[in-house]
Point group: C2
Chain length 237, copies 2
């Protein structure tokens, strides 16, 4: 839960250097304005960034790590409804109250800036608005893809789909997708797939015994043949 406000004032310039994300296309003048108010934070795994129902007063850019978006029921049942990887943008325009909770899945580093500054900036930059709009549409597509997984796939297909997702999304700069660390615990994977940890574990074992994957230290996964994995994921038409 410890949050360290970074001393570096040019947080967003750093984002830009790293990956040309949402911050990347701002003009130097705009960046300057944002930077005056931005703060960079390092967060331990499992830190809540925004709570379900909370008022959100800032946007953020994920510099490093993975953030999970979760919904919780009254009796504690939980569903992860989205994963955000660096350099994703976090937060939304128009609405100030969050319908879900955002929590770091791994150790992470994020760069915060106040709603007011960002909104003022967006009002002047139509292409920034467009980029935010595009991102919303992409998240919508991802959510709907996952609905098919949740509603119609078997446990094995769900787990294979998850592995495929991580293999392709986790490290966009890495060309070799055949080896990666899982950013989620078994419990989180279960919450993402609508399964129990036991079932997730059993399916991992099965995929391992079938030679589709190899696992080292519980978190590191090796996929010799990504196409073969995709077949287990029962992909769409």
């Amino acid at each position: 839960m410890d949050i360290h406000i970074a001393e570096i004032p040019v947080a967003c310039r750093a984002c830009e250097a790293r990956h040309g994300g949402v911050c990347g296309t701002l003009t130097p003048a705009e960046l300057c304005e944002l930077n005056k108010y931005s703060a960079r934070r390092r967060l331990d795994a499992g830190t809540e960034v925004v709570g379900q129902g909370e008022t959100v007063s800032s946007y953020a850019n994920i510099i490093r790590g993975v953030v999970k978006l979760t919904k919780m029921m009254a009796d504690g049942r939980q569903q992860i409804v989205g994963l955000q990887f660096a350099p994703d943008f976090l937060g939304r325009p128009f609405v100030s109250e969050s319908a879900l909770s955002a929590e770091t899945a791994t150790d992470a580093e994020i760069c915060n800036f106040p709603r007011s500054v960002m909104d003022r900036l967006a009002a002047r930059a139509p292409d920034l608005k467009d980029r935010l709009h595009r991102q919303a549409l992409q998240e919508l597509d991802e959510a709907r893809d996952w609905m098919l997984t949740l509603g119609r796939k078997s446990a094995q297909e769900k787990v294979a789909s998850f592995l495929y997702l991580i293999a392709t999304h986790s490290d966009p700069e890495e060309v070799d997708k055949s080896s990666f660390d899982l950013p989620l615990s078994r419990a989180d994977i279960a919450d993402f797939l609508g399964l129990t940890i036991e079932t997730v574990s059993r399916q991992f074992t099965k995929l391992r015994k079938d030679g589709v994957i190899a696992i080292e230290n519980n978190r590191h996964v090796i996929v010799p043949d990504l196409d073969r994995l995709m077949q287990f994921a029962g992909n769409d038409r």
Copy 2:
């Protein structure tokens, strides 16, 4: 599959009169421009509006009826990933290829206008862009809400959630939400909930025997106490 191009040229003006939807806030001049190219169509239930993977060349407004958005797997398994009610807007900016299939669930009436005209209009009207952006965000929220339903709710909770959704969304102008027609067949409900038709049917029967709902002619539902239904839906925190 029969599509009748309506003779009435002022299709969107009709939308405006009906409910002040997306078309509702256009200026008369803008409306005029759209109307020159818009076409009103009456569609039978089960008509495909856009196919998965197809190139989309137009936007549309739903004037009457319900449209289901579905995703299909290679082996025929299907998941409904969204429902659009009148006066919802159909289609999306930026992308021209559809990631899903849109099909009428009921008899419906829609008003089509070409991408090019709409895009040109949006380029000049920032508030129209904002409204489309807002809609995307709302659909995202709805999709994520449904992910919780698909991933973590029991069959009974799923069916109750569906009934609650229809009761509240189906007829926005109707104050009395206690009696309504189901816009979906049992097969469609099953595809929406990630269940089989048999399970859906059994849960209907159970809710009926518990006195939560009454059913007439398979399609008409009466809910004496909406709060009671909501409890069966196992609502979020």
